[in-house]
């Protein structure tokens, strides 16, 4: 049953990836665009396919998979279906880094400054998090530290906006924070890819430990799981993946929350099986949403993060309502 689910999800991601390559304002035929992508002959079409649509579709897969995977790992570790990457403050700190880069003008002079600053924000958040929750701190300490880091980063972002002398910089910051995959290049892909791969590998290695945590921290430790190590690998993995995702795409919420929640019953609720399923599911959701923003309002540049929040939030409310009714 699980293999069928994984096959279906992989097919879905492949289909949406192809659809993403074929969606855009430039009216290019299917065979023409694919030929331009593969053999590189055809002038402007090659440019559109290789420099605009391919990085966009690739980033869709990477960002979606990263957010889905991080959500599943965090929910498994915290044993709480309401956990998400934003919860431990990595998204907000990463956004703060980017905002500082835009505000200081660094982003305008050096193209890599924005993603690098976002990564620095994520790394700082993790260090602060570990410092606040202590080397052996439990789940609650981690959540509280995450909320504190998140609140601090949000407040500092607000301060930067508040003090911004330049209204253009302020509006650029606000738009950047909404989250989007438009106008990204292969350089963004190469910047995010190594971090995403390293972070993703770290998160995938946690499967057995997360399974054992189904029984609680004491029982998991008695099954031979080194909890302090698991916690460190998990936080570092989430920071790398979410930091890289935020660096190239801005803040995109609800994917890490809703995707694991939706797929959990389909994998028999096992945390280790949920990791790959959520990665695939997240990739499918971001690809679909990114196609949707191009179809719904091609001339208005609807932001991806806005769409995921508008669709994701009511959907999640519905899930909470349903869970509340089912509970004894």
């Amino acid at each position: 049953m699980r293999w069928r689910l994984f096959t279906l999800l992989t097919l879905l991601v492949a289909l949406l990836f192809a659809a993403s390559l074929l969606t855009g304002p430039a009216d290019i035929g299917v065979t023409e665009s694919l030929r331009a992508l593969i053999d590189g002959k055809g002038g402007a079409t090659v440019l559109v396919m290789r420099e605009i649509r391919l990085p966009r579709a690739l980033l869709g897969v990477m960002v979606g998979a990263g957010l889905g995977l991080s959500g599943a790992a965090l929910q498994g570790y915290l044993r709480n279906p309401l956990a998400e990457p934003g919860l431990i403050g990595v998204s907000a700190s990463s956004a703060l880094g980017a905002v500082l880069a835009i505000q200081s003008g660094l982003a305008a002079t050096l193209a890599l400054a924005l993603p690098l600053a976002a990564l620095a924000g994520a790394v700082l958040a993790v260090l602060l998090l570990l410092l606040l929750s202590g080397p052996r701190g439990g789940t609650l300490a981690l959540i509280l530290a995450g909320i504190a880091v998140s609140a601090l980063a949000t407040a500092l972002t607000a301060l930067v906006l508040n003090l911004s002398p330049n209204p253009f910089a302020a509006s650029e910051i606000v738009f950047w924070m909404l989250g989007s995959l438009a106008d990204r290049s292969m350089r963004d892909v190469w910047l995010a890819l190594p971090l995403m791969l390293a972070g993703g590998a770290a998160l995938f290695s946690l499967g057995r430990g997360l399974d054992a945590l189904t029984l609680g921290e004491d029982a998991a430790q008695s099954l031979g799981i080194r909890l302090p190590r698991l916690r460190l690998v998990m936080v570092a993995g989430v920071a790398a993946v979410v930091g890289a995702a935020t660096a190239v795409a801005g803040v995109i919420g609800f994917v890490g929350l809703v995707v694991p929640h939706l797929l959990r019953p389909l994998v028999g609720a096992r945390p280790s099986a949920l990791l790959p399923a959520s990665a695939l599911g997240g990739a499918a959701v971001i690809l679909a949403a990114d196609i949707a923003v191009r179809l719904i309002a091609p001339e208005r540049d609807l932001k991806l993060g806005v769409l995921t929040a508008i669709v994701g939030a009511p959907f999640f409310l519905h899930l909470i309502y349903k869970t509340g009714k089912e509970a004894p």
């Binding site: 044993r79 399974d211 029984l215 004491d218 029982a219 008695s222 099954l223 031979g224």
Partner: protein
Amino acid sequence: MTLLQVSDLTVIRRARVALEGVSFALGAGECVGLVGANGAGKTTLMRASLGLLAPSRGSSSIAALPPAARARKVAWLPQTREVAWPVSVRELVALGRIPHGRRASASDAAAIDAAIAAMGLNGFEERTATRLSGGEQARVLIARALAQDTPLLLADEPIAGLDPAQQMTTMSLFREFAGKGRTVLCALHDLGLAARYCSRVLVLHKGRLIADGRPETVFDAGILATAFGIRAHFEIGDNGPLFQPLEVL
């Protein structure tokens, strides 16, 4: 053969002595009851013995092992019956096989089947563990610990919340487990069941081990008065050991 050697184990938390100078050894083939009033230090003693809690002083032979090796020597059944996700009963019991390697093997399947059968859970395998009754869930978690297939089992009030028949079934299962050269140490509140099923009883009082021996020597009027503040009747009759609490002193 000694399965667990605890020496001078002392735990001080927030200036309060939770455990003081506890020493004992568990050999193979024992079914040991750990009794004491609420707050006497039963859970602290077991967690410190397992290495889940760093002692202020003293040592435990099990706690010194690396986590993976320890998990093949001792199974731990905590009192809090936590099941975080709605997994199937079989998947939950299978978690006990985590210390035995990554690849599912025939011995894994055999251990899981045996544990499910021992706890009378045949027919429950595909049920969702979080939707079972409290007693059923307790049995699933005991089965999980049995599936770990270790020489030593530490259980914190494993029979709390079970009905009388299930309590006796579980205790005789533990005794049978001990009969096969393994050892069980379980914290119990029911002194009657401890008297009937345990070959040895440890009595904790305010963090100290005040008695250690066969039930008939341990359930002495003075020890019962100190540890529990009760008077009780104890006899070994035709139906085996009988323990009857009479009054609070």
